[in-house]
Amino acid sequence: MALEIVIPDSGPLMSLGRIDRLDLLDRFNCPILITDMVADEILRGKPGAPDASVFEAWFAKRGNRIQTIETSIGMMWKAIPEDIRATLKRVRDAGETSIWQFSNTIRDTMAADDEALVLFEDAAVKKMDFGPHIRKLSTWSFLIALERAGVIPSAQTLRNDMMAANRTIPSDPFDQPSPKMAGRDEDWIAGYDARPDMDDPTP
């Protein structure tokens, strides 16, 4: 048996990307295949969040080691004009379904002793049948396996890093705390009214 392909779902990519440890996927020196729907999920990001740029940089750095794989569900999604796509709700579990579709195309062509790893977090993946040559591994199991293989000193430390790494996203002005007023614990209305750019509401 030999590990030939790593197929990560969006969850593990986002968790590892969040702590800048996407390099852990590179350790196996084998192709990392990302389905089109998974790529779409991780690259769209949230406005203002650093997520998409982290993955774009990783894709560029790894060159052809990382390949985006077309799937039926991904091609159908892309066939929808972009302006309409933005208004549509996505199909539930689309990323996972695209991995399952891809696994169906390779399950009969993989050599008897070749194996692939599917990395996942979404519970939907647990119920999917990827065939006999594809092992499913959650992000946490992946970290535990890397710890036992001596690649990382501690899975728990990386998990702690994930918890410590909140994303810093520019807040909507209405989400921001009110300015503090010197020496007093004002409520938000007083703080808001005291902003220098506020017009005097009294007639």
Binding site: A2, E96, L137
Partner: protein, 89 residues
């Protein structure tokens, strides 16, 4: 107590009002990923992961027996591949 996620019985999520309650419920295991995604109008699991990241939380850990089964199946592959990489294969 509820009987199933899709049944008519009351689930913990039905008493939750705020985003934080729902995310905490997901982390505690009382709310499923799909329940949380539906309640928060999220389209993908990636959105849920991002919401957890925004509040400084990692996704919940899977059960230990499940982790051990996955690791047992994958570790020989990983060790062998790492050895091949070290040997320059």
């Amino acid at each position: 107590m509820g009987r199933s996620e899709k049944g008519s019985s009351i689930r913990p999520i039905h008493g939750m009002v705020t985003v934080r309650q729902i995310l905490d419920g997901f982390l505690a295991g009382s709310v499923t990923d799909h329940e949380a995604m539906d309640a928060l109008h999220m389209e993908t699991y990636a959105d849920l992961i991002n919401a957890l990241a925004d509040i400084g939380e990692a996704p919940p850990l899977p059960p230990k027996a499940e982790v051990e089964a996955e690791v047992e199946a994958a570790l020989p592959l990983i060790r062998k591949r790492l050895q091949e990489v070290a040997d320059g294969a």
